[in-house]
Every structure is written in C-alpha cells, then in structure tokens.
Symmetry: C2
Subunit: 419 residues, 2 copies
C-alpha cells in the first residue's frame, strides 16, 4: 500500500487529514458572489482550477473545462485527460514543486467557500447489491425463506431513480407526503411519511459514455470516481406502492451526495475482492480483478440541538456486486450510458446489527428501536434529526477521505400543495 505523499500545502500532511496529496478529490465551489467553478481539495485549501487554467498552469483542453459549475465537460475529455490532470496536480502540489509560488495565489481556504453539486446528473440508477441489506429487508418484507429473490445472486438488481431528486450534502430534506396504507387499514390515505429513512450507499459516477453492451473491464474503465450517497427513503410509501413495478415516490424526495468526487485513481491502492460467489456469475458479469474498495463507512444521527451518535459502521467491501458489474449489467440490453450518470451501490450493511446501513434494519422495522448516546431512542427519522454519512479509506500513514454527506430532516408541510 502506498504511503503519504507530502505536499507543500502543510495542512494536507496532517495525520488522518481527509484530503492529502494522495486524494485530490474534485468539486465545484464558489467564493462570495463569484460564479461556481471547478476545484480540487488539498488539505484545508481548494485549488481554483478555473484560475489555474486561465493562467496556463493547467492546459489540457482546447476550450476551458474548469470555469464551469460541473465536471461533466472535463470527464468527457476521456481517461487520458483524467490521468494527465492527476499527474499535473500532483506535480504542482507536491513538496518541493518548482511552481509553488505560481500556484499559491490560486488556493482558497475551504472555510470560505460554498460547495455546489459537482456534476450535472444525467440519469440516476439505484442498485440493491449489498447482500446483508437485501437479506434483512427481504426478511422483513417477505420472510427469511423468500428474503433473497431468486435472481439476486445472478444479477445486480437495480431500478432507475430520478436525477431531479439528487441534491448536494447540506441541503435540508423536507419530510414528504404520500399515499399510505397500513396493513390493517381498509383504504389508503394521503399523509406525511411516518417511516422516513436513510440508505448508506456509495455513488459511482460514469465519466465515459457507451452506446451498447460493455464488459466489466470496460465498465470499470468508464467510472470516473465515487461519492457518498444517501438515498432517503419513505418506507411506508414504499411498502404500499412497490408492487409490481418497484419503488417510485418512496425514493423521489431526495438523494444526497457528498460534495467531493474521490477519483478511481485515488482509491486504486484500496482495491479488494468481492465475496465468494454462491453461484458462479455468468461471463458478462464476472470479476476482472479486485473490484471493490476497502472504505470504512459510518452513519451518525444528531437529534435537533444535540450531539451526534454513531449508529452504524460498515465497509464498502461488504458489497456483493461492484459498481463496474452494475454498470456492465446496466448496458446489457443496449442501454446507452452517458457522462454524468450516477449509480447508487445499494445500501451497504454488514453482517452484524451495528453494521446496518438503514434505520429500517437498525430498528428492525420499528420492532426493536435503537438507543442514541443521548439516551433517546429511534425507529425512524424524527423531525430535526441530522443524518451524516462518513467515509474513509485508510492507507499506510494517510487517509483518503470523502467529504461528509449531511442532511437535516424538516417537518412535513401542513399542506403540501402550498409550498
């Protein structure tokens, strides 16, 4: 495993800092009244890439690609440009870089900026590819015998989500209304969701378009990077609506993503293998190497005005299918994939109770509420709760951090039609 690369930006060398030179995650930021543009995090600073491009420190494309409020145009340049940018940024920011003096004026303190969505989300797909989660939820919905659907061990099950619902970490989330029917109700009613939940996921960002079936290796090559992703879920709406065509409004209120895209290149040292297969996968879905990443994940919950409690700890290596396998499956029918497509991994739970990536699992459908450090209990999210996802790949003396993915749940409106 590689070691800490030192930068002349001293904060980046601090022990366990999320953004050392090894990371170089990409985001979109703005300062004061200026327009949002692309930047890269290094320690406590952001290098303004639009400015660096303007003065010629970075020169990768014929037209400016960083003076834009999204990374889509840069991604579209292709993987050679991705490699070239990372190499150039490493050269500019490494300890002893000859261009330090030229770069310094374009560093902005992270504390002074506002972050924005890093990409224009073309389309959003959410998978269901964590085995512990699928088993837990399946057990609650259909009993342990029918928990895993027959197809589950053969294909990464997924559904199309709604790109318009993807929002940036830090945006508040309004508790939705929806049509609900409890198991003992005669008729449904329209009411605020009473079982609002999170799903701890990783999001993979497609950086290269494809126009027909692609192999798992090609799919892996086409992924630009990863973010943390919270797929907010209305469990009571879902239970009533999901048969036979899957989740719809239950998943359309919001999906939050963390602001920094951690590149595939930064995660390379943390690759690890998928678990043993119960059934051999068909050729077009077979692993083509270590396909997952060893990334520690956790979820905290802070009641309004109170301290946060860690409610779950798990790891991305608990997935059964990798993002590349999901993307390859996504293309089997000829489905075109575009730059900016976002793929949610599915909820990442581990084998133990404390590894569960949703409140549905943590409270076992409200049958077994869990206790916060503050002494309060929770089954599902209460108004004012702040939920935070955290992620970190831990190397030899350094960390590849993901910016937190945070959201506070606001009470439902009195009348949803007057908003």
């Amino acid at each position: 495993m590689s070691q800490l690369k030192k930068s002349w930006v001293q904060s980046a060398n601090t022990a366990n800092h999320p953004f050392p030179l090894n990371n170089l995650p990409y985001g979109v930021f703005s300062v004061a009244e200026e327009e949002p543009r692309c930047g890269v995090a290094i320690g406590d600073m952001i290098l303004d890439l639009a400015a660096a491009e303007e003065v010629g420190l970075i020169d990768l494309a014929d037209a400016p690609v960083f003076d834009l409020p999204f990374w889509n145009d840069f991604m579209d340049l292709g993987s050679e440009a991705w490699d070239a940018l990372r190499e150039r940024l490493t050269g500019l920011l490494v300890e002893g870089a000859t261009e330090q003096a030229a770069v310094e004026p374009h560093l902005v303190p992270m504390s002074s900026v506002q972050m924005h969505m890093p990409i224009v989300v073309s389309e959003y797909t959410d998978f269901y590819a964590g085995r512990h989660h699928a088993f837990n939820v399946g057990t609650m919905f259909r009993g342990p015998e029918n928990a895993l659907p027959p197809n589950w061990l053969h294909i990464p099950i997924g559904y199309n989500g709604r790109a318009s619902s993807v929002i940036l970490s830090g945006s508040d989330v309004r508790r939705p209304w929806g049509q609900l029917k409890g198991p003992n109700d005669t008729l449904p009613r329209f009411a605020p969701c009473a079982r609002f939940d999170i799903e701890l996921e990783m999001g993979a960002i497609v950086g290269t378009s494809s126009d027909g079936p692609i192999t798992v290796q090609e799919a892996d090559d086409n992924i630009f990077g990863y973010v943390l992703l919270n797929d907010w879920s209305a469990r009571d709406i879902q239970a009533w609506e999901y048969q036979p065509l899957g989740p719809f409004q239950a998943k359309a209120t919001a999906t939050s993503i963390s602001p920094w895209i951690v590149t595939k290149a930064a995660l390379e040292p943390f690759r690890c293998h998928t678990p043993a297969r119960e059934f051999e996968l068909l050729d077009h879905l077979k692993d083509c190497g270590p396909m997952l990443y060893d990334i520690d994940l956790e979820v905290t919950l802070a009641p309004e005005g109170k301290d946060a409690s860690t409610i779950a700890r798990t790891n991305y290596n608990e997935m059964y299918y990798s993002a590349a396998q999901q993307l390859a499956h996504h293309t089997t029918s000829g489905c075109a994939m575009n730059v900016g497509d976002l793929l949610g991994s599915g909820t990442i739970s581990g084998p133990q109770k404390e590894n569960r990536g949703s409140l549905l699992e943590l409270s076992w459908g409200a049958k077994d509420p869990f206790i916060l450090d503050t002494g309060e209990t929770r089954s599902f999210i209460e108004d004012g709760d702040t939920l935070t996802l955290k992620g970190a790949a831990r190397g030899d003396g350094y960390t590849i951090g993901f910016g937190d993915c945070v959201g506070t749940v606001l009470p439902a409106l009195d009348n949803p039609f007057k908003h």
Copy 2:
C-alpha cells in the same frame, strides 16, 4: 365539436388529412445538410419556424427559440407563449391570411425533410395505468385473483424509465441480449431476447417545471402535448429481473416516439371522462374535469418485405388514469419535474381481444398465437418485423393525426460486446 378550419395550404384541407389547421403539431426537421430546427406541420408542408422567427413573422421571445434542434426552450417560455404561438400560426395559415405571400417562402415539403427528436428528454417515466392491460398481464404473471395489485385502483403505478433509451420513430431497434431464465431452467443464461414485444402508449410531454407537489389541475396545465410512444419490452428479461424492484433492462433497449408533438390545445375538443371509479380516488388525484381524450389508436405489423396487418385497435379513452393524474402523483413526494420530462401512459388495451396493445396480450403469452393477413402467425416480434403505431382524433369533418411511430426490429448481434 369544432369544425375544419380551412388553410390556404390546400393539402391541409383534404378530407382526413392528419395535419389540418386545427392540428398544428410541432416537430424538429432538417433539409439536406442544414441544421435541424423547429417546424410546424400544415398539410403536406412544414413551416420553418426558425426562418419565420428570423424574418419577424413570429416574435415571441427575446432570444430565438426555434433555431434549435428541440422544443425545450420554447416550452420553457410558459403557457401564455404556447397560446400565443398557436394563435399566431393560425392567423398566418388560415384561408385569406393577409401574410400568405410572406409565409409561403418558408414552407418546406414534408417529403423533402428528415425528422429529428422533437425534444431533449429530461427524464422518462412509464406508467401502468390502463386497466385492461394491467388485468391481462397480471392474470398471466400472477393469476386472475391477484391480477390487479391492491394499490392499482388507488394510485397510478409507474416506474422511472431511461431517458437515454428514447429514440425517434423510424430508428431501427436491435433485438437485445439479456439474462434469461425459463421457469424450468436450473440456472440463468445470457442470450438474445426471445420474447421481444411492443407496448402501445401515449407519451405526455411536461412543458412547465415544478418543484414540489402539484394538483391535478396544475399538472394538466403543465402538460405541453402528446406523442405516440412504443415502449419496446423484452418479456423474458422482464420476467426474470422484475422482482422485487421492477422492470430495468427489459425496458432499456428503446422507447420510440412519434415525431410530431400534438398540443394539448389541438386535442381540447376531444376531451372525455375517465371511467367510473371502483374506489373513489383520494382528493389529490381526483379528476378536475374530462381528463382523457378520444383518440383512436392502432398497431400494424409488417413482416420483412410484406404488407402490414392491423393487429390491434383501441382508444386512449380506455385509460384509468390521465396523464395529469400521473404527473400529479409523480410530484407527491416533492419530486421535481422538468421541462422535457416524458410520461408514458402505460399500455392502452381495450376490453376485447382485438383491443390489446401488446403482443404479450394478443398471443396470451404465446399460448394463442395470432394470425396476420399474410397468413403467418406471431406470438412475439420476429426479426425484420416492422411495428407501427397510429393515432387520430376524429372531429366533425377533420382529423387530428399523430405522425406514425414506426420501428423495425433487427436481429440480435452475434456478440453483443462487439457492436
């Protein structure tokens, strides 16, 4: 019911012509090597709106909105502009119009153009809101007792489709590969789809954005117009993949739409009521007037090199939920809807065997193949078959036609990874 409005474009006054002055459907076309731009069909001609705007015959926006290969920018001007354009076009093209001589140079024969996608599809949602279809398919998949899911009579069931799969009528459709497992197979396999099918639908185009729950009336106001829509479906892929999260790759090969957007205004004389409700709908989904349209629909199938047979005849008034009710339901959770969103109605079948809008229903899952006029039989689509959807609202001496929605199915590739 209103009568034929006569135009000085004589072909528009021909009996049963699909594009009389009453219609004025919007599309995107190109001539020879020129760039695609917006146009309106009148008889056998297209009025070049980019040219008409350039010379000042039409002046609705500060910036040009018609010299673009999509109608999204015009839709985004809002419903007052929609009304103003229709009024202006009617004035320019009506018999006796004083500006006939100024308009004539900007008419292009329809026979000389290439049509293009009329909109950039923002996101695509497909519903399942035709009762006869839902009952037929449910009966085949789950038996007649469980045919209609419990939620079906209370909410318009839908799933998010894939915008990248939406293509223009006339584009060929390649038979997809996918993971399949027959009921008697031990394990799944990766193979070409053997049960490739159509779904006869109408597509509603959202012309006004919304950012939270909207009423059925607001939803109706936000719809710009309608197209014919064929949701190509791989039934064998669907049967294996759809539990528990709904259709995914089975619906991602292609969805074809007809080239001309028939506006809501043109369809106004054909409004009709939804059927009697078995359960009263909840307030947020209640009809706010006659919500459907009386539009005759049919499907033809032509084997390669042979004549077409009409295989189904039905009517849009067979829907249980209108597009406005679908759109209102789509927003209940707070889901933002955008200009260019496309909503498929769901397959439109009628009560009789000859009214069925899919081959799955027409052949009852291949148990009862149907016979073409050529004497051949069909259960599902065979390579080389051309499927055509047709639609027309029939008024007092005039017709509001939809351009046909056509697609020919090409054989599956030998190796889907070499395309």
